[in-house]
Structures are given as C-alpha cells and as structure tokens.
C-alpha cells in the first residue's frame, strides 16, 4: 500500500503537468512542453518566498501565481508569433524552456534546494500504508484540479468557448469568440496554476533545475496515452504511469523506471496515434 500511495504521489505530479498541457491545448490548439519549466519556476519562487524572504504562504502563492503567469504569457508572445514550420517552432519552444531554466540557474545556482513543508516529517498512516502528508496534499490537489477543470470546460460558457477554439479556430471566431484573448487567457491560467502549485510541489521534488526535462517527457507520455485535450484521461494515465514507475523501481530497480515508460510510449504512439480519448489535430507552441 505504501508503494501504491508513493506511486500515486508521483503520478499526481505528472497529472499536474498534463493539466498544464491540456489547458493550453484546449484554448489554443498548441502543445506547450515548456510547462514543466514554468512549474519549476513556481517551485523556486516558493523557495525564495518561504526560505529566503520568510513570507507567509498566502503572499508567496499570490506572487508566484502572478510571476509565473507573466512568464507564461511572455512565452506565448515569443514562441507563438511568426511560426509556420514545425522545425522553427521546436527551436523557439526549446529556447524559451531553456531560457527559463537558465534564469533559474543564474539566480539560484545549480544545487538542489529544500523547500520546507507545512507538516513535520512524520508519515501518516492510511489504509495500511505509510505516506507523507505532502504526498496526500499533492494527490488531492491533482484530483481536485482535474475535476474542476473538466467540469469548467464542459459546463461554463468560457470553457465551452475554449473547447471550441481548439476544435475549429475559424468557426469559433465566427461565433464571436475572441480567439486571441482566449489564447492569452489559457496561457495565463496555466502559468498561474503552475505558480500556485510551487509551495506544494517543492517539498516533494526539491527545487532543482534538472526537474523540467523529466517532467516534460513523462508528462508527454501521459498525454499521448490519454489524448490531447482530455483532462480526465490524461490525468488518469499520469497516475497509472506513476504507479508503473514506482512498482518498476521496486521490483526491477530504479534503472528500469524510465525504460519501461519509454517502451510504453513507443507502443502507445504506434498503436494509438490519437490517444484513448484525444483530439486529432495538434498545433504547436
């Protein structure tokens, strides 16, 4: 059971990555693989606020949300503008992601930093397994956010409009939806969420500049399985991947974790090109 809970905790982090991917995809048709860099930025801002400045958590959350939202919007302006060929889009996307990481390295260095938790180190006991409170919090956040976003996208007019934009941009424009504003909005939202998550992710992942790559790639596997644009399916896939990773690590060894995930990625991409529940088209950041 401990393993299960650990796996769910890992999976929750990946699920949060896929939420970021899907929010942006739904409102703009683009895939922003630099989202994990934004999440990492949020974690470092949490470190800065909580450790270096010693501010109360509420203030840190607000500041982080604003700063990361700003970074996300800036990224949208830079990486979306003139891009026609996918080769060019790759370059600017990797560029903005790397630049964000680079800024993190310059400001905070390359050592992994500890972000304090709200709870002490005592593990809780749940259903026969031991788990840190931080893990439970992150699992709860992932599930809650997935539910809220899935419902909002279907049942609010704004959510519906965003879904419309990702399905058919021109038709959405003709219905009076300002696609530019929607695109801006989803990037800002994804950034804000990434910022808010900082203080909660930090205790689990440490603040490390090497975080983004692994998160981005494994988050992509979850997205490939669940399908672009589907909050629930991608999050579920992410939890499953977390479990697979944890069990593989336990029974085969830590070296095999990523290999197994990679094998799953290849199989899924070749067998299910649109994922389980996903949309057909993919544009780019």
């Amino acid at each position: 059971m401990t393993t299960v809970l650990a796996g769910l905790s890992v999976g929750a982090v990946y699920a949060l990555v896929t939420l970021g991917y899907n929010i942006v995809y739904i409102g703009s048709g683009a895939l922003n693989f630099a989202h994990s860099n934004l999440m990492t930025l949020g974690i470092f801002l949490a470190y800065w606020g909580l450790v270096q400045l010693g501010w109360p958590i509420a203030a840190v959350i607000v500041i982080a949300a604003l700063v990361v939202a700003l970074a996300a919007v800036a990224q949208e302006r830079i990486a979306i503008r003139p891009l026609r060929h996918i080769q060019g889009q790759l370059v600017t996307m990797v560029g903005t992601a790397t630049l964000i990481t680079g800024i993190i390295e310059i400001i905070w260095g390359q050592q992994a930093l500890t972000v304090p938790s709200f709870f002490d180190d005592a593990p809780a006991h749940l259903l026969g397994g031991a788990v840190l409170p931080d893990d439970l919090v992150i699992i709860g956040l992932a599930v809650a956010l997935t539910a809220v976003l899935a419902l909002a996208s279907r049942f609010s007019l704004t959510g519906l409009a965003a879904l419309a934009v990702s399905e058919d941009r021109e038709a959405a424009q003709l219905r009076g939806i300002n696609v530019r504003r929607v695109q801006f909005g989803v990037f800002a939202l994804a950034g804000a969420i990434a910022g808010v998550l900082g203080p909660f992710l930090g205790p689990l992942t440490f603040a490390s500049y090497t975080l983004p790559a692994a998160l981005a790639l494994i988050g992509f596997v979850a997205l490939a399985i669940g399908g672009y644009g589907s909050f629930v399916a991608s999050a579920a896939a992410a939890f499953a991947i977390g479990l697979v990773q944890t069990y593989t690590s336990r029974y085969l060894g830590a070296n095999y974790q990523n290999l197994v995930i990679f094998a799953i990625l290849i199989v899924v991409l070749l067998a299910l090109p649109n994922g389980l529940a996903g949309a057909r088209r993919e544009r780019v950041v």
Partner: protein
C-alpha cells in the same frame, strides 16, 4: 419592389486573395434588410472568398467592407460577429465533438452583457431559453439535443448550422452553399427556410451552386466570373437562366471560340 436605400452589408472595390494568388478583383456585393441576395458563379469564381472577405476571415488587399453603416474592413471576425454578422460556412463547420445543445449555446456566445465576459448563470439560462425557440423551429434538433453534432445526418447538420447562426440574432446572414451534399428533398426544405428568414428584416447573402433554385427565392442577383462581378441586378430583371450561361461557360478567352457546328 423597390430596394431599401441603405444596404446592411456592402463590399466595395474589394480585391482579395491567398498569399499572392489574386482571387477577387474589384468586387461589389450588397445585402439589404429583409432582402435575399444570391451570389452565383462557377467554381473558382470566388464566391467563398467573397464571403470570407466579408466576414473578416480573409484580409482584403483593396476596397472596403461596411456593416450596418460602419467600416469594418480592419475588424477581426469575432468583432463583426458581435456587430450582427452571421456566417454559415460551406461544409457546415460545426463543433463536431460538442452536442447539439452546446453548439447552439456557442452560437449565442455574443448575446448578453458585453458578449465576451465571464457570463453568469443568468446568461446561460437566457441562452438555454433561446435554444428552446430554435428547437421549436427546427424540431429535428429538439429530438437530438444531447447527440454530438458529428453524429447527425447531413440535413440535420445543416439545420443545426443555421440554428446556430440564428442564435446570435444576426442582422445579416451569409450562407455558403447550404444545399451542398444534400438530397434534393432536403435541399428544398433548407431553401424554404432560407426564404423565410428575410421575413423578420434579416438580410441574407446566399451562395449557391443550384443557380435556378437560388434565383427563384432571391430579390437580387450578383454573378461572379473569375473574380469579377459580371452581373449585378434585381432578380426580377433576369429574363431566364440562359443569361448566366455565358458567365459560367465563357471563361477568359484570348482566341475566338471555335465555330459552332
């Protein structure tokens, strides 16, 4: 029947294209309140491009577009929709993965406070009520309101596309080949509905392949040939369809036609 003086929608001197492909040259099209203008021409003549230019999906390289007396030439499509321009595209560009009901709600997106705000429950309720009136008018939609738009038949999709556009209570409606791909009996139904639209003062611009049927319900006829306007007059002034024949079959010729045998 004399025309009202001021057109609801007017394109003047419009040139438009894709990249460096010039499709339209110096085109004038007008739509009056309560009147149906038929926009005809053979394939490649530029009919769809004209609608796209009027709606703002394509930028014009020359000329102007006026909507309800306002110059909207530089305005993006979403703003023109908010001003009262409706457009039912060719191929019924519905949101196939959304339900009938959701498509209608999206159709009414511009209604309510400011049109682009967060909209409260009140707005959603108002839109639901308006959707109910659409179900009364298009009964087949009412029966399938929870179905995904992509699962409907061709004729049902066309009805939905029309209803979706009408949700926004447009002042001018652009229709691109509503009969496309439909069985003749459905075509007749669709065109009947189209003909009735003008009763409430709505101005309609109808692009159609089936020229004769279109002329029968039109008040005004504009014919395009390879991007130019070659005929532009009231429907009553068209003697018979053979007048269009030259426009459709003539094309641009440098050498005189072979002597008829």
């Amino acid at each position: 029947m004399s025309l009202p003086a001021e057109p609801l929608l007017e394109a003047s001197g419009v040139s438009c294209g894709y990249g460096d492909i010039q499709v339209l040259r110096d085109v004038r099209v007008r739509v009056w309140p309560g009147r149906l203008t038929a926009l005809l021409g053979s394939n490649g003549a530029g009919k769809t491009t004209t609608l796209r230019a009027l709606s703002g999906l394509n930028q014009v390289t020359a000329g102007s577009v006026r909507l309800l007396g306002q110059d909207v030439t530089r305005l993006p499509p979403s703003d023109r929709a908010r001003l009262g321009l409706g457009y039912v595209m060719e191929g019924k560009r519905l949101f196939h993965r959304r339900t009938v009901e959701e498509n209608l709600l999206l159709g009414g997106y511009v209604m309510g406070r400011g049109g682009d705000g967060w909209g409260g429950l009140g707005r959603r309720r108002a839109l639901r009520q308006r959707a109910e009136t659409m179900y009364e008018r298009f009964t087949v939609l009412g029966e399938r309101r929870r179905s995904r738009a992509g699962e409907l038949s061709g004729g049902q999709q066309q009805m939905l596309a029309l209803a979706q556009a009408l949700m926004a209570q447009p002042r001018v409606l652009l229709l691109d080949e509503p009969s496309g791909g439909l069985a003749p009996i459905i075509v007749a139904q669709v065109l009947e509905i189209v003909a009735e639209l003008t009763a409430d003062g709505l101005g309609v611009l109808l692009v159609e392949q089936a020229a004769e049927s279109a002329i029968r319900i039109a008040d005004h006829v504009t014919v395009l040939d390879v991007g130019h306007v070659v005929i532009d007059k009231p429907a009553s002034a068209i003697a018979d369809v053979s007048e269009l024949q030259h426009a459709y079959l003539g094309g641009l010729r440098k050498r005189p036609p072979a002597p008829a045998s």
